[in-house]
Amino acid sequence: MAKPFTDYLVKLHKDDAELARFKKDPDACVASAGLTKAQGDALKSKDQAHIQAALNVEHGSTVQFGHIELTLKALIDRLK
């Protein structure tokens, strides 16, 4: 099953040029990566809890993954 948000985060970790493009024009990058509005908003927020919540939604999981944010439940509810 495709996981565009996860795949795009992996790309941002690995590809400095893509990270630079995102910092310059996040809307264009979000669109070309095929992300939903909620996923794009999470990424553009630069908020770690928000991004983690979007990952959890994409993976259909509220299970703690590594170090979870204490506010995660509320954020997941917001993204649904």
């Binding site: 996981k3 996860t6 795949d7 985060l9 992996v10 941002l12 970790h13 690995k14 990270l19 995102f22 910092k23 990424l43 630069k46 908020d47 770690q48 809890a49 991004i51 983690q52 990952l55 959890n56 994409e58 993976h59 509220t62 299970v63 703690q64 993954f65 590594g66 170090h67 979870i68 944010e69 204490l70 506010t71 995660l72 439940k73």
Partner: protein, 262 residues
């Protein structure tokens, strides 16, 4: 088949922090077992080695964390004993706040299997970089927050103090949301030594490349208002420089000039 164990960490952000040695160890292993910090890191580990498997499935709510960790050790050792070259991957440093890796290393070596741990970048390393702290200047004390309180650790207020897992203070079980029940106690203990106006830092390393580290600076008297996460670390700067010991300086043969430099 001989079997072996290699423990590696991928840092807080794998793209920027994972070493070549860690990448090679992951790619070359017969079996990879990981505790990735998030699903993107897990996906990257899967790319490097399709035989990767998460250990996160062993977590269960309300279960004592030590029981979960021991199950992880058993899972790791089952593959090593089966003769596989096993690579265990953690976020951060594989040997910092990582009981399962240390215990698996101890068991593996005790049973005659080759076992290696590669160093990696931990949250503390990120803290030094982001806050501009040099532990060589005033020294540095580092404790897990619950251990710091429960054992009434004797600490030096003239030395920097790092307290890890402050969001889990007073809780030995695994939860998806921690109640921060011990955090207020921690603040009271610190305030008794440092006073209410002493400024501390609540720190969270940047986990994703688009994010900055989260740095909250506030006096101890207002630290209860801080946003505390399970990943939060508290940095308590020293109250001031530690006094020099003239008798020791004499014994060391240090000059008046070197005293002045200190």
């Amino acid at each position: 088949m001989p079997g072996s164990l290699t423990c590696v960490g991928v840092g807080i952000q794998f793209g920027a922090h994972a070493s070549m040695g860690a990448r090679r160890s992951i790619a070359a292993a017969d079996k990879v077992l990981h505790l990735a910090g998030d699903q993107a890191t897990a996906a990257w580990i899967d790319e490097l080695n399709p035989a990767a498997e998460s250990l996160h499935g062993l977590y269960a709510l309300d279960k004592p964390r030590i029981d979960i960790y021991n199950e992880m050790v058993e899972r790791i050792m089952n593959f090593v004993r089966a003769g596989m070259d096993v690579c265990v991957v953690t976020y951060g440093h594989p040997g910092i706040f990582a009981y399962p890796t240390h215990e698996a290393m101890r068991l593996a070596r005790g049973e005659g299997f080759p076992a290696t741990m590669l160093p990696a970048i931990s949250a503390i390393d990120c803290l030094y970089a982001d806050l501009g702290i040099d532990p060589g200047t005033n020294g540095c004390q580092c404790y897990e927050a619950t251990d710091f309180l429960a054992r009434r650790r004797v600490f030096d207020p003239c030395t920097a103090l790092v307290l890890l897992q402050i969001g889990l203070t007073g809780d030995f079980t695994h939860q998806d949301v921690y109640a921060l029940k011990g955090y207020q106690v921690l603040l009271e203990v610190l305030e008794a030594t440092y006073g209410p106006d002493h400024e501390i830092v609540i720190y969270e390393a940047a986990r994703f490349p688009v994010c900055d580290a989260v740095i909250q600076r506030l006096p101890l008297s207002k630290a209860s208002r801080a946003r505390i996460l399970a990943t939060s670390t508290m940095f308590v700067p020293p109250k001031g420089p530690a006094p020099l010991d003239d008798a020791m300086l004499e014994r060391l043969g240090l000059s008046a000039e070197s005293r002045a430099q200190k």
